[in-house]
Symmetry: C2
Subunit: 457 residues, 2 copies
């Protein structure tokens, strides 16, 4: 009792050694195109290799450093230039420094007293993101992922229309309807279920050939829902659908929302970043008419998982009124500073990670212009890949081929890319080329590799 | 386009320099009792000092390193031995190494293909935690905080009883009632509101003088709710209430739950860690009879924010059935490995951070025995503090004094401790002594400092 249990000097020594391994294995080798993107093992043998079991006694520092090496070795190198698998590929070192600092500081974004820097910083970052949306004022919060951000929108929309839901629940309300497109993210369904609406409350609006919501059909579906006794609540538009990357026509949808007085939410989890680009921000024309926007800088911008902003046009403290519980041990009103700085009661979480620092530091490092370049580069990548693919024979859709090619690439560890079916189209590869690390030769490699792996099928 | 946008060598150099600053400022100085725990600034002047504004152009590496230093300087040192403010005080270096590794690997815990190591590791860690609860089988998931874990319990309980809620929503169900104590965490209220139950659905059960739920009153309240037309759904017991640290009598509550067929959930966000201790685990006697448990190793065990396990006794895949949306771009069924390893559809999130590695590495480092020592030490701290306080005159409750003493300690930066009112008692200091860094002299310092700061009041 008289002495502390943990030796700081010894601990810092360990951290130092672990840091070296992380830099070498994850960041240097892990981003080297000559190295593997994954080191595939069957689950049973991987479990054995890692010796996962937790025991009564501790282990030596050397053994633990070997564990750090093993975890790095058998984990996927998501910053590798041949990781085309998902939208979080790539690494930004300023962001990563911010993430290390966040972890070391280990504080909680709920009160000014424990997070003075981050309360102010989050406010500033949200303001800057809102300005890109086109709002001079408003509110917002960082959430643990885009799904949660989308759920915040649903929760706020119903509270705004029926404040009594907070105390009396959905039983006191008429049946509500939420509108979205078949290409919208699955969190709309998950949210409808989790928040008590039920998935039957989600009414799917038709899309055009490009996967974009058809405003006329939205209007018709709203009328139909009304005639069936539903109260239309919210439209969840998508800027950048998960599979096709479609951008719903926000301006026309806003007209429909105005007409019927619906809450317009824009799920711009991946698409939001186009707002940095003078060339591409037209894709989200009309976004300033939305009531709320979800935007994940952990996707195209490389802020690192997790970084999801929920942005709100509201200036009436709706977020806090909707979510507050006024916990007396945390949000005391007799504090010696302005208690409006205790932003925690805006959240449905209690502990909330600091997700703003990494984005802020990265933004400071490259400026809005640097982030614009990342977005523009990603769009150039797409065009390049398309052109090259057209030049090659043998690239067509054969639904049984993708899973086999995927298996081969992972077992060889040369590349990773996702595949998925779409309607009657069968399986196709969904190539993500957001990462600013990749260049011509990586995309050529992608095409060569698909050809090579698919050759004898 | 031909070249990558980010220079890895340059980035790694920056990260290296940032790491040195983090170690020096946050970990070395930040844990030194001779240094300040906080460097108080008024919000306006802090905002100016930090120059938070985001601009078009980027900044030099030197300027950015200075920013890292500034953020560290003005942030609270939550690992400082005089940080008695909250339950996440303290640092474990093995956990921190795991957190850095997690950040560098930047992957998403939803499929085996992008997180092979972590899918297996999370499974193993959850199994080990469940064994401490007393279950040989079951399920679980790591959530972004204890509030979310508690909400998972409410969501599962209603789905289990009324599976149609997933599609039809709460409108198709009778009014449900949730039982908890006035000392339970505010997330029970937030969850009731967020999930659509409404806070009126939360019925508060009386507590005894020690703040523990009275099973007889629970029984009576359930009967009363039934007579009012409610369907009693769930009891949220607390192992370690936020303010008093009370442990509800789980065994007796389980009897009442059995009698009325209610879902028994245990919010052991902070208390769960006593299960490591042979000496103190009796506080949670009966926990094995619960249907679900929330447990945050980021509190007493020092795993670092965020680390919250939601544990489940169920073996029927309830979690996945309740939350799944079967997204075809992520959870393809024609993969080349066992798709049961794609655990992401158990979550209401899509992107989900890896929260298991830090706990696993720390556990490997010190063993269950080492974690037991941390728990036992925290309880010894409490006893010591109590004894010392009794020996001193002048420690009594004066409700207007705490906020002023708090202001003084923060402006001097010598110490941090939370205060709060309780019923008619007025404000008192809620001292958290979980951190294994602290020892006798830190607690003596605490008492001396309260005396010193309160002297001329």
């Amino acid at each position: 009792l008289a002495d502390p249990l943990i030796d700081h000097a010894e601990g810092q020594l360990f951290l130092n050694e672990a840091f070296k391994i992380i830099v070498e294995e994850v960041l240097r080798k892990g981003t080297d195109a000559e190295e593997k993107v994954c080191e595939w093992r069957e689950p049973e043998s991987l479990a054995l290799l890692l010796d996962l079991q937790l025991r009564d006694t501790g282990e030596s520092q050397d053994r633990l450093l070997q564990r750090v090496r093993d975890v790095a070795k058998y984990s996927i190198k998501t910053s590798h230039p041949h990781f085309f698998n998902q939208q979080f590929g790539g690494v930004d070192y300023h962001s990563l420094a911010g993430r290390f600092l966040t972890e070391a500081l280990n504080t909680n974004l709920f009160t000014y007293e424990v997070a003075p820097v981050f309360v102010l910083m989050e406010t500033e970052v949200l303001k800057a993101l809102r300005q890109l949306v086109g709002w001079t004022d408003g509110d917002g919060i960082f959430c643990p992922g885009g799904s949660t951000s989308n759920m915040y929108a649903m929760n706020l929309a119903r509270y705004k229309l029926f404040p009594e839901v907070k105390t009396k629940g959905l039983w006191a309300l008429p049946r509500l309807a939420i509108f979205s497109s078949p290409g919208s993210h699955y969190s709309v369904q998950k949210g409808a279920s989790y928040l008590g609406f039920g998935t039957d409350s989600v009414i799917l609006v038709k899309v055009d050939d490009g996967g974009r919501m058809i405003p006329e059909d939205l209007d018709a579906k709203i009328e139909l829902a009304k005639s069936q006794g539903f109260v239309p609540l919210l439209v969840s538009c998508t800027s950048g659908t998960t599979v096709l990357g479609s951008f719903d026509p926000l301006d026309c949808i806003a007209d429909v929302c105005d007409k019927h007085q619906l809450w317009m939410h824009v799920d711009a989890a991946w698409g939001g970043s186009v707002l940095f680009s003078k060339q591409h921000r037209h894709l989200m024309k009309g976004v300033e008419r939305a009531k709320s926007v979800s935007w994940n800088p952990h996707k195209m911008l490389l802020a690192g998982l997790q970084c999801s902003a929920f942005l709100l046009q509201d200036t009436t403290n709706l977020l806090k009124r909707c979510n507050c519980a006024n916990a007396s041990y945390l949000f005391q009103q007799d504090k010696f500073y302005d208690v409006n700085l205790d932003i925690g009661d805006k959240s449905v979480q209690c502990s909330r990670k600091v997700d703003c620092l990494k984005l802020w530091l990265m933004w400071k490092a490259v400026g809005s212009t640097g982030l614009e370049h990342r977005v523009d580069k990603a769009f150039l990548h797409v065009r390049y890949l398309l052109e090259q693919m057209k030049k090659r024979d043998g690239f067509q859709l054969v639904s049984t081929v993708a899973p086999v090619i995927k298996e081969r690439m992972m077992k060889e560890g040369t590349m990773m890319v996702g595949y998925q079916p779409l309607g009657d189209l069968g399986n196709f590869f969904r190539v993500t080329v957001f990462s600013p690390h990749i260049c011509h030769k990586d995309m050529d490699f992608f095409l060569d590799e698909i050809e090579r792996l698919g050759k004898c099928l």
